[in-house]
């Protein structure tokens, strides 16, 4: 488990990544998690399942997504920036990779309903999309605060036939939506698959979601070789729960690239979190001295989460990946910069990765380094918020 070549492969039988991970759920859900683990391992080794998943991602999702070398941005900041364009997936983010896989798995398990949490709404939209494609019922839990700031995605989900339920408890954001989705699942587990949106939750979810997102890093590794004749010097991705980062890192963990996850400054569980147990996993969480979970604060609903996936906690502990932060102001500036130098309006979440690269170019990132950034989603959903914040 400690050898670098073994990293980001199989977790231990109890779902541990080093000391992190595990399965901390009420007894009612333990058998469901065990069934899911068995079903996923069977499917993942089954050429028919893999073939069908590949076909859907290609013909329906639009994969492979390109890697684009940014000329003007690179000239501006003095490092060579490449973008892995997950924003070009159907539904506009990397979330589709995960939900198509989980919906296919749910179908194989005989489930007829998907339930999911969503923050920015990207995972909710992707899940609603998959439910429509597979003819399944769909319920999305979304914090009431997030519903207010992501109206367009709420309507999208409803247009796709999903039921969107506002969550009024706690901080009324992503963390509370996860609680509510878990509560739903405890009562409906016989017919329902909980389609979790990130590399978090009880085992086997962090494993499943990382494997379903691995395609980002696997594709990008080859694409970088084609473009650079080498691996990039740095690989950078934003981290909320951490699924696009996990999928990207999985393709590069055995390379020489420096791996960097960028969190929202107000939700930086890797920098300020303490080991704890929430949402079924042992990982790092923002919490007080009594073990009460603190609210995260970020302009980006998708990163507004006080925890992080357990495998990131492990990669950070080992030092194989480093975790940094970007502030709301830096993120807004990065949105403008990328829009005006490359004609790409990023979602606020990957704009964190861009913002960190812009700040560190010529500092902790040596000049002329090659930097791959995962552009995990497009910015359409955030345009109204950005307009308001930039006062334009």
């Amino acid at each position: 488990m400690n050898a670098i070549g073994e990293l980001m492969r199989e977790p231990s039988a109890s779902g541990r990544y080093g000391g992190f991970g595990g399965r901390f759920v009420p007894e009612s859900l333990v058998p469901a998690c065990e069934d899911l683990d068995r079903a996923f391992r069977l499917a993942w080794g089954d050429p028919t399942f893999r073939g069908e998943l590949d076909r859907l991602l290609r013909e329906y999702g639009g994969r492979p997504t390109p890697v684009f070398a940014c000329r003007r941005l690179s000239e501006r900041i003095g490092v060579r920036v490449l973008l892995k364009r997950e924003d070009l997936n159907h539904t506009g983010s990397h979330k589709l990779n995960n939900v198509i896989g989980q919906a296919l798995l749910a179908e194989a398990m005989g489930k007829t309903r998907l339930v999911a949490e969503t923050g920015a709404g990207q995972h909710g939209v992707a899940t609603a999309t998959a439910a429509a494609l597979f003819g399944m019922d769909c319920t999305i839990y979304m914090g009431a605060t997030d519903i207010e700031r992501q109206e367009l995605n709420v309507f999208r989900m409803r247009l796709l036939g999903a039921e969107v339920l506002p969550v009024e408890s706690g901080s009324r954001t992503l963390k509370d939506a996860v609680n509510e989705a878990l509560r739903d699942w405890v009562g409906t587990v016989a017919t329902t698959h909980y389609c979790i949106g990130s590399v978090m939750g009880p085992h086997p979810y962090p494993f499943i979601v990382r494997e379903l997102q691995r395609i980002i890093g696997d594709e990008a590794r080859q694409q970088c070789r084609d473009l650079l004749n080498a691996d990039p010097d740095l690989v950078v991705a934003c981290v909320g729960g951490g699924s696009n980062a996990a999928g990207t890192f999985a393709g590069f963990v055995d390379s020489g690239a420096r791996l960097v996850g960028v969190e929202a400054a107000g939700g930086a569980a890797m920098s300020h979190g303490i080991a704890g147990i929430v949402h079924g996993m042992l990982s790092r969480f923002l919490q007080d001295e009594n073990g009460q979970i603190l609210e995260a604060h970020s302009i980006s609903a998708g990163l507004d989460y006080p925890g992080v996936g357990p495998e990131h906690a492990y990669l950070g502990e080992l030092g194989r990946a480093q975790y940094e932060q970007a502030s709301d102001e830096e993120v807004l500036a990065a949105v403008e910069l990328l829009a005006q130098t490359e004609g790409i309006i990023p979602a606020l979440e990957p704009a964190h990765a861009v913002a960190w690269v812009v700040r560190e170019a010529g500092r902790s990132i040596p000049r002329d380094s090659s930097v791959l950034i995962t552009m995990s989603g497009r910015g359409d959903k955030d345009v109204a918020l950005v307009m308001e914040r930039l006062g334009k």
């Binding site: 009612s28 609680n179 509560r183 405890v186 009562g187 587990v189 009594n290 073990g291």
Partner: protein
């Protein structure tokens, strides 16, 4: 007396067991409520140590947790108040694992034991993750109550029974804590499976809302845990006497 011996003594004397749940730190008079409930015919009482993210709880316990935390409740303070309360039946705490882990297994076990708390229910700490806590709890004399759910397979139920202390908590209904109009069919079934698997007292919780439901499920089970039905009244302002009245209703029905 420990949790199991005390409950077994009552059961073997022919009583059905009644364990009310009160959210610790809910209102300034919560200790009065605890004492009143204990004196109104409870065989043990459960005290909730509130957590910000109670995944297993429905709206009533969630609201009570939020209110208790907002008024400054902490696990340490609640446990200290329990230590000085006038309660003659065993007290068990129910909480989430993050509170235990944050304090540390040994420190929490000793704090509970020192306060005279004889049981702990940690619903998000299933059998497979139990070892670290259970060793400290066992050695401190705090009984770790385990849950058995309608979905628990027979082989797993055997393992749960081996590790369970105090009593076996049979989850009556798939879902989170909260009141239900009707007793789930799963309640009697899981109670029956648990009874067949252990001599520990088998108490059904989750979805026991009325004395009639308690009587019905106790045709199979040894007793019931009553949480949301009681906490809802406390949230509505029934006060210690109102809480005691409800517990007496359950007691009378179960003794009938």
């Amino acid at each position: 007396m420990g949790l199991a011996p005390s409950l077994l003594h009552r059961r073997d004397a022919g009583h059905k067991l009644l364990v009310p749940y009160v959210t610790g730190g809910l209102g300034r008079d919560w200790i009065d409520s605890l004492e009143a409930v204990a004196a109104a015919g409870a065989d043990a009482v459960e005290v909730g140590l509130p957590f910000s993210d109670p995944m297993m709880d429905g709206p009533v316990i969630q609201r009570a947790s939020v209110e208790a935390l907002a008024s400054g409740a902490t696990a340490q303070r609640i446990i200290a108040e329990v230590a000085s309360a006038d309660v003659s039946v065993p007290v068990a705490v129910m909480t989430y694992y993050n509170l235990v882990a944050r304090m540390g297994h040994r420190r929490m076990a000793h704090l509970l034991a020192g306060a005279g708390v004889t049981g702990a229910i940690v619903p998000d700490l299933p059998l497979d993750e139990l070892d670290g806590w259970a060793e400290e709890a066992d050695s401190a004399g705090v009984a770790t109550v385990l849950l058995a759910a309608p979905t628990t397979p027979p082989e797993r139920l055997k393992l749960i029974v081996e590790r369970a202390r105090g009593f076996l908590y049979a989850v009556g209904s798939m879902g989170v804590t909260g009141e239900r109009a009707d007793l789930a069919a799963s309640a009697a079934e899981i109670a029956g499976r648990c009874k067949a698997a252990t001599d520990l007292p088998v108490l059904v919780g989750v979805g026991i809302s009325t004395p009639a439901q308690a009587v019905e499920v106790c045709q199979v089970a040894d007793g019931v845990v009553v949480g949301s039905a009681l906490v809802r009244r406390l949230l509505d302002g029934c006060g210690p006497e109102g809480a005691a009245d409800l517990v007496r209703e359950f007691r009378v029905a179960l003794d009938g």
